[in-house]
Amino acid sequence: MSDSSSERTDDAVVVPMRVYKTVTVFSTLFAVVGVVGGFVLLDIATDRAQADLAEVQPLVALAGVALIVASAATYAFSTRFQAAGMRNAKDGEDEGSNHE
């Protein structure tokens, strides 16, 4: 890390704590609802995986997969926003354990 005051490392953005909470709460919410919703769509499209190949609704199935992927992407994207003092563990030097 060349300059810690720039508030910006490779793919981490330092944001105020309140914004960090907003990002965490809402992105988690999106991700959870999105993934569950995506699977529900997949279920509908394939009649709970019971449908014959001809009866599968491709558009709905694709929409379900897309929703799952989008939710995962949203969640992954939001991990770049961090509050002050947070760092990715892999970037930081060892913290040193409290015991021993």
Binding site: V13, R18, V19, K21, T22, F26, L29
Partner: protein
């Protein structure tokens, strides 16, 4: 605690200082827009505050109190048996309440055998998730009995029953007896062969008690031979009397543990 929003930061100002990509900026603006309208974060912060306030009133765990190594034993499985019993009890209570919607404690003749038996068969064979529900009830009951017993062993062998926790030990003795009573009364309810002859054994055990045996058999089983009164009594004990008594005692038992703290291992 109030839901008044505190303006801690300048929403626009700080953003200009960062070099955000358009996607990042758009993403943050969207979430902040949502945050202003659906104030989930505010409610979560309230919950967080409440959590810490409640925690302040809790006694220190004994690892904190005695500065013990807290990496390992905190999760020591034997110390979770009490909680495990409680969870099993809650599961049994919920599933039992649901089964109660369909079960009828009647020895009247029905298609297969008796109404009670037929209803149990109906629950398992015809009801959606009925087999699952009954299995859950059965398994949680068995697990509770086992966990309560192991919990008692743990308390005994770690000396946790010693001063000042004698009262809670005695309550525990009562609770393990009531747990077995719960199990026994529930065992009779399906009115199967196993149930019936378990009931017969119960009557004869009651009768074998000196002096008061006959009275006890009459009181608990409604007579010297099994019949409708027996099933009725088991049912009332199982769904009306025991639940209230046991729930109250468990609450007291846990409340005392809460007040006294967990005993340190000797």
């Amino acid at each position: 605690m109030s839901l008044e929003r505190k303006e801690e930061h300048d929403h626009r100002g700080w953003m200009k200082e960062r070099d955000l990509s358009p996607i990042e900026q758009g993403y943050l603006m969207t979430l902040m827009w949502l945050d202003k309208r659906f104030r989930i974060v505010d409610y979560l912060e309230l919950l967080e505050t409440m959590y810490y306030r409640v925690n302040l009133q809790m006694p220190k765990s004994h690892t904190e109190q005695y500065n013990l190594d807290n990496k390992f034993w905190y999760w020591y499985p034997l110390y979770s048996l009490g909680a495990f019993s409680t969870i099993a009890y809650i599961v049994a209570a919920v599933t039992g309440a649901l089964l109660g919607f369909y079960y009828a404690p009647s020895t009247a003749a029905a298609q297969e055998a008796t109404v009670a038996y037929d209803q149990v068969v109906m629950i398992m064979m015809e009801m959606n998730f009925g087999f699952f529900l009954r299995s859950l009830h059965r398994w949680s009951a068995q697990i509770m009995t086992a966990a309560v017993f192991l919990h008692m062993l743990r308390v005994y062998f770690t000396g946790a029953y010693k001063e000042p926790r004698e009262v809670n030990w005695l309550i525990g003795i009562v609770l393990i007896s009531l747990t077995m009573a719960f199990g026994y009364t529930g065992y009779l309810l399906p009115w199967t062969q196993l149930s019936y002859w378990a009931g017969q054994i119960g009557v004869e055990m009651a009768l074998s008690v000196p002096f008061i045996g006959e009275w006890v058999a009459q009181l608990v089983f409604g007579g010297f031979s099994l019949g409708a009164p027996t099933l009725q009594r088991m049912y009332v004990l199982h769904v009306f009397i025991l639940p209230f008594v046991v729930t109250a005692l468990i609450a007291l038992h846990i409340g005392i543990v809460w007040m006294q703290g967990i005993a340190e291992p000797h």
